[in-house]
């Protein structure tokens, strides 16, 4: 079987890979590019552990073919922190103990980032709806919701500081 050559952008970096036609973007990220932050949970779009964004849209990478990434901009959990500096979502997840086993955490963080990018002041209900595509069997969700809410406050503060500095 001949492979498909794909040129794409992942977390801002140009990336090229060769994949099989039936290979999912999740398979490519984990097995070919060694970006193992995205987790392989259900493989059928139910659990959200493999969440990434493609051209800014939150998707399950298990339901995207690797070949579809041609020319697109993909962001994964590996692109969330700024070097050694954790994103506020990551710090607040730690602070609020919003994880136990951790398998669902990358997906929750990517989904929560997608939420905050379009709504930096979400209500509890909005957070719960936005994260409905991510399953967690450890926390009971409350700690996750509180962490996202706290991160939103932090993100708004940082944005406020940035704006004041630009004046």
């Amino acid at each position: 079987m001949s492979g498909i050559h794909v040129s794409t952008t992942i977390n801002g970096d140009p990336v090229e890979f060769v994949c099989q036609p039936g290979e999912t973007l999740l398979d490519v990220l984990r097995d070919r590019l060694r970006l193992t932050g995205s987790k392989d949970g259900c493989g059928t779009g139910d659990c959200g552990a493999c969440s990434v964004t493609v051209d800014g849209r939150l998707v399950c990478s298990c339901l995207v073919l690797g070949a579809e990434a041609e020319g697109r901009e993909v962001t994964t959990i590996e692109g969330l922190a700024d070097g050694e500096n954790l994103h506020p979502l990551q710090s607040k997840f730690i602070e609020h103990a919003a994880l136990q086993c951790g398998i669902c955490t990358p997906g929750f963080l990517v989904a929560a980032k997608a939420l905050l990018d379009r709504n930096s002041n979400p209500t509890e209900e909005e957070i719960r709806f936005a994260l409905a595509g991510n399953l967690c069997r450890c926390t009971g969700y409350d700690k996750i919701v509180r962490a996202v809410s706290a991160a939103a406050t932090e993100v708004r503060k940082q944005e406020g500081r940035k704006q004041r500095r630009s004046f």
């Binding site: 036609p21 939150l58 073919l65 579809e68 709806f129 595509g133």
Partner: protein, 286 residues
């Protein structure tokens, strides 16, 4: 398996027609990739239609809207003109799955997957939507209610696929609504769905209506008797009772873990009544 991402509909139709084994169209992939994963299908060819510009946009014209087959349902919810004209269709499309799914799944996929419980289909049929079909013998346009022939089967011929869904421009004083019942807040398959689209006369009397039900028969059903029950009325209690009775009579559901025959039948009447009231208000009736 082979993967192709043609940039024109003609090329896509030719690829599908020439395939030696089973060929499948890939739009959002939220059903197709699941079926590939669990092994119910083994495609010889997958044709990704998202590189075809005609599948990628929602366009508004004097005659209505055209929604490309590759447009994710989330983009429908982001289109204010579409939401204003057909709020019921957009709500129905936005009920399908999580944000992750919404950002990929399409109404054409929802239609062609041919589930009796597809959420967008009752709303599309109530709205009088049409499917723009491309195939080896050219193009044809068919009413959406003529596409699904049974659970998992469609009237599309070999090599044919749907390039877009068109919605008419709603006449003045029109409104539509879709409601579904599920035992939880979201992320579930409809036990019953009901779509209503109606147009009022200047006096607030229903001039024209279309009523549809999902998940209560092998395909989504259009219920003309239910439309007749409310035509010429202001949705008085008597008219709504007749609407509900007509909907119950149109049900031919299965018994399963989601609901019994009796339960589905009764809920169909209740939901149709509620959807009719919402559509009526949206059309400007009181």
């Amino acid at each position: 398996m082979r993967y192709a991402a043609p940039t024109t509909t003609r090329e896509a139709a030719a690829l599908i027609a020439k395939a030696k084994g089973r060929a499948f169209v890939l739009a959002g992939g939220t059903d197709l990739l699941v079926r590939m994963k669990i092994g119910t299908i083994e495609p010889e060819l997958v044709v990704d239609i998202k590189r075809i510009p005609a599948t990628q946009s929602i366009t508004k014209s004097a005659t209505g809207f055209r929604i490309g087959a590759g447009v994710p349902t989330a983009a429908m919810g982001e289109n204010n003109a579409l939401k204003k004209a057909w709020p019921g269709v957009v709500e129905a499309a936005n009920l399908i799955g999580s944000d992750q799914i919404q950002n990929r799944c399409t109404i054409v996929g929802n239609l062609c997957n041919a589930s009796p419980a597809a959420d967008s289909v009752p709303a599309l049929i109530a709205a009088g939507a049409k499917a723009a079909i491309v195939g080896p013998r050219g193009r044809r346009t068919v009413a959406v209610d003529k596409i699904v022939t049974g659970p998992g089967t469609t009237s599309l011929k070999k090599g044919e696929f749907i390039e877009a869904i068109t919605l008419p421009r709603p006449p003045p004083r029109s409104g539509d609504a879709y409601l579904r019942f599920i035992p939880r807040t979201e992320m579930d398959i409809a036990v019953v769905g009901a779509g209503v689209s109606l147009t009022l006369g200047p006096n607030g009397v229903v001039k024209k209506a279309r009523v549809t039900l999902g998940a209560v028969a092998p395909t989504v059903v259009l219920v003309p008797a239910a439309a007749r029950a409310i035509t010429g009325t202001r949705l008085e209690d008597v008219a709504l009772a007749k609407l509900a009775a007509a909907c119950e009579a149109a049900c031919n559901p299965i018994d399963d873990m989601r609901g019994t025959i009796e339960y589905r039948t009764e809920v169909a009447g209740v939901l149709a009544r509620r959807a009719a009231k919402i559509a009526y208000q949206r059309a400007g009736g009181n």
